[in-house]
Symmetry: C2
Subunit: 542 residues, 2 copies
């Protein structure tokens, strides 16, 4: 038995040590810790390998299924981690990583996260969170105010009134959207007379009570996939998530929305919720929220806005108007781990009426008792960390004006990148950036001309070829590890309903420079010059 193994043998004293003796500053883990504190960007640059290893190979490093019998030295484990995990992770903070909604974080988030982990509070109840409870309520009130701009009196009344909630904090936008639809459903089918309410008797009896065949949720076809999960979970069914067609700017078509509602009515199906999107995931567009609010009022149904991405646009004096109407929503989702620049795992849903969340209220004998101030009585999740602290820190340290700069800069950067694409002969801008997201594709000038004059059938055929090229290019660019854009499928109006594959770019990282944006297109042009891709392109003819 090697000496290291012998020393590492589990015994009471060793186990006790890991709970009582801090990692020494000159230990392997201590040094990594220090390196991250001193220079995070340098650490990531030095330790994350740029060029992708094949995923099959990486899987080989994580193929053992049995739990190790004996303990391992922290130093040995740290070496493993550096070599096998950190090196093969994704440099999400890189300014050239403009394909997804993760960005560099403000430096102060790192030490503050350490405080959070050190305190290890559990926000389900006051007994394990104390001051974190009113702090989270404050964060929810601040975000509520950002959206709804109610009076000082309103907030004085509700901010710390533990019988009600201005919103719920959660792990992310999916849970936020689900919470909103759950509350809406339970409110629509709440107790009345002999009917004890859907929460107690379930969906089947609720539909009998309301004398309808089912419920429907309506959203544009750009709606986030979490909504599909929500209607599935809630027993509504994915077929009753009615995805409405959009106009050429990826905004819900109000006429089509009305038509769908009439159709549902004819089928005895009740619209539970209209969902407006403020910043579609793929294209960053904003639905006509004002018109949707009008229509929801006309229907008498819940109006939810999924502003997971676009919500923080409200910080900007310049761009706030794009979300006009959001203040009429019954509920609004905002993700803090997106444009509030908080680490992963922080979402929120805000409710116009502080009583809405009462429809999902629940209690237990040992915590979240009736009359307690425990946050857990009106959240979907139970035990959860105090991530609200990091939102509180962001709002305080960056301030409204700071976030405004970040938002304004992101939109400005997206517009400049759009101009760059428009000016380039071999790229086509597919969706204009209304916020800081845009899509485009590679399509050499020669083929643009062919496409302009082709028949519908020919257009489809060419687009299928181009789709393959875009997909291959996106993968190669990712694998090379210098810059990264994502890809999706869209159905832009100009191709008459046909879907095409496009590059998708999200401009959230404040460190992304003009040079990097130029480099993204240069790299793509270079990738496109690969013989395999050129061979496909050459086949495309008039």
């Amino acid at each position: 038995m090697p000496r290291s193994r012998e020393l590492a043998q589990a015994n009471l004293e060793n186990i006790y040590r890991i709970f009582t003796v801090p990692e020494a500053p000159d230990s392997t883990l201590g040094r990594v810790d220090q390196a991250i504190s001193d220079d995070l960007m340098g650490f990531l640059q030095d330790h994350i390998v740029a060029v992708e290893r094949d995923l099959d190979e990486i899987e080989g490093d994580f193929s053992r299924s049995s739990i190790p019998e004996d303990p391992t030295y922290v130093s040995d484990y740290t070496e493993f981690l550096k070599e096998k995990l950190v090196s093969q992770s994704v440099h999400t903070a890189s300014p050239g990583f403009i394909g997804h909604m993760t960005s560099a974080l403000p430096y102060f988030m790192l030490p503050l996260s350490r405080i959070l982990t050190a305190l290890n509070q559990n926000l389900v109840k006051v007994e394990t969170s104390r001051a974190f409870t009113p702090m989270e309520r404050q964060v929810l009130a601040m975000m509520h105010r950002l959206i709804y701009s109610r009076s000082d009196d309103f907030y004085s009344q509700w901010i710390q009134n533990s019988n009600y909630s201005l919103g719920a904090f959660c792990s992310g936008g999916t849970i936020a959207n689900l919470t909103a639809l759950w509350a809406a459903r339970n409110r629509l089918c709440g107790p009345s007379g002999d009917f004890k309410g859907i929460s107690r008797v379930g969906l089947v009896k609720a539909m009998q009570h309301l004398n309808c065949q089912g419920l429907a949720v309506l959203v544009s076809r750009r709606g986030h996939y979490s909504l599909g999960k929500a209607v599935d979970l809630l027993g509504i069914g994915r077929d009753n998530l009615v995805t409405v067609e959009t106009d050429e700017n990826n905004r819900i078509d109000m006429k089509k929305l009305r038509e769908q509602c009439w159709r549902l009515k004819g089928e005895g199906i009740l619209p539970l919720t209209l969902i407006g999107i403020a910043g579609t995931t793929e294209t960053g567009n904003i639905d006509p929220l004002e018109a949707m609010a009008d229509f929801a009022a006309e229907l008498g149904c819940h109006f939810h806005v999924d502003a997971a991405w676009g919500g923080p646009t409200l910080f900007s004096d310049t761009h706030r108007g794009l979300l006009k109407g959001v203040e009429r929503a019954d509920s609004v989702t905002i993700d803090a781990h997106k444009q509030l620049y908080v680490p992963m795992g922080a979402g929120m849903v805000l409710f116009k009426d502080p009583a809405t969340l009462s429809s999902i209220e629940h209690h237990a004998a040992y915590i979240i008792r009736r009359g307690s101030r425990d946050l857990g009585s009106r959240t979907l999740e139970g035990s959860r960390p105090g991530m609200a602290m990091l939102v509180h820190a962001g709002l305080s340290i960056i301030g409204r004006k700071g976030y405004e700069i970040l938002i304004d800069q992101g939109i400005e950067r997206a517009r400049r990148f759009a101009s760059r694409i428009n000016a380039h002969p071999d790229f086509e801008l597919v969706s204009e950036p209304e916020l800081n997201i845009l899509t485009y594709r590679y399509i050499p000038a020669r083929i643009q001309k062919i496409l302009a004059e082709a028949t519908a059938a020919k257009v489809t055929e060419i687009n299928e070829q181009l789709d393959k090229i875009i997909e291959a290019m996106q993968k190669r660019q990712r694998e090379a590890g210098r810059t990264f854009v994502s890809r999706t499928r869209l159905t832009p109006g100009r191709y008459k309903g046909g879907a095409i594959t496009v590059f998708r770019v999200v401009m959230a990282n404040p460190l992304t420079t003009e040079e990097i944006l130029a480099a993204v297109l240069d790299e793509q042009s270079e990738i496109a010059s690969h013989p395999d891709i050129q061979a496909i392109l050459r086949q495309i003819k008039f």
Copy 2:
């Protein structure tokens, strides 16, 4: 305008700085960070105020509802945090804090958490998580193996087979339980013939298809409150969460369970899932899992085990047998932020059959595409952090034998505390520790005698008086801040169905010594000597 405010004015350069310039080691936040690294326990001891401030007062510090317009210096914010939040948080790591399921954490969790935050991966998709994806799959396989002990061949086949999942990682036990019931429901009501499945058409049509009136979930009355949320969300309804009576050891009464199932059958309601509990939240007892597995097989229904707390008992050669039968469960919930000693926000659900989670599979155009290896296609949550890394670290560094020691010690400690309570004339042990949780109450010897000879009505009357005392004592002990136990309501057999309020103790912190346990009872005796409490006690007579 004060100079500090002037300097803090938002401008592009300042905002850029927070993303590029690390906190200086000698800054306020840098020093806090260092203090935590050097000596976490000392930091918590020094900075968390022991004696509770009134919550109303604390709320006053978080009463502002508007987002600050201007940025704040990080140092100023850190001072605020220390003074108003950290000082008034809960010292969950204190060895005298034995009332809830939070404990001290191994020291290595702190620097590893920093690495996690620094990398800020998003595990919904490979493009933002790379090696974290196979690592999380490995963790799930390891936990699966701990429960199901399948062969090497089995794990070679499934561990990295991205078309299937051995389980789902999530933020905690609530989402884990919900995921299990969701998958069970969708599997029971899966597509067949013309029926497109509940996922698409919803619960009403699924019930018509199955020709039944509704679904039911059966669990003992010690079941976790998250199950109530789950049946509510899933449209099943809380009335169809059938809470079955328990025996005198808080384990489900199998006879009563059978009776309930017959009753449901008579009402045309189909049992969806039986839920066994491995470590009830309030008393730490384990249901007769083997008998439940038999009965579930007889019914042909899903068998879920909520082992959020007790799952890690499987690490112990001595105590593993208590969970006999768990390996027959279709799904099992385990929380990592409980007895795996990982920071808050890490839960898992494991599935015996790698195909079960296919019933909730979903896709989108820009990520989690069909055929991709993205974890998000079979999880309830969307974007989420790589907490699995900390579980991976715990399993590797502590090892099976290390966790065994922690489990064995906790159970041993609970037994010793139980002996101490039994030996004390003024306390009554209410539930024996089967694992490391027990309940007891304060009841002076004199009143124990009265109770032994009292009529049923008199017993109820006395218990009501004692309930008030236990509640008052628990609050005073918490407020004094030296030690902490929680409280709940139980219906022990000896009081013929009457509910009583009890102290609840969870022995998870390895730093809790015999001296601390003695101090807990001493402090409670002292609190009980308070004239207010003695006055109530004096009124209790034969």
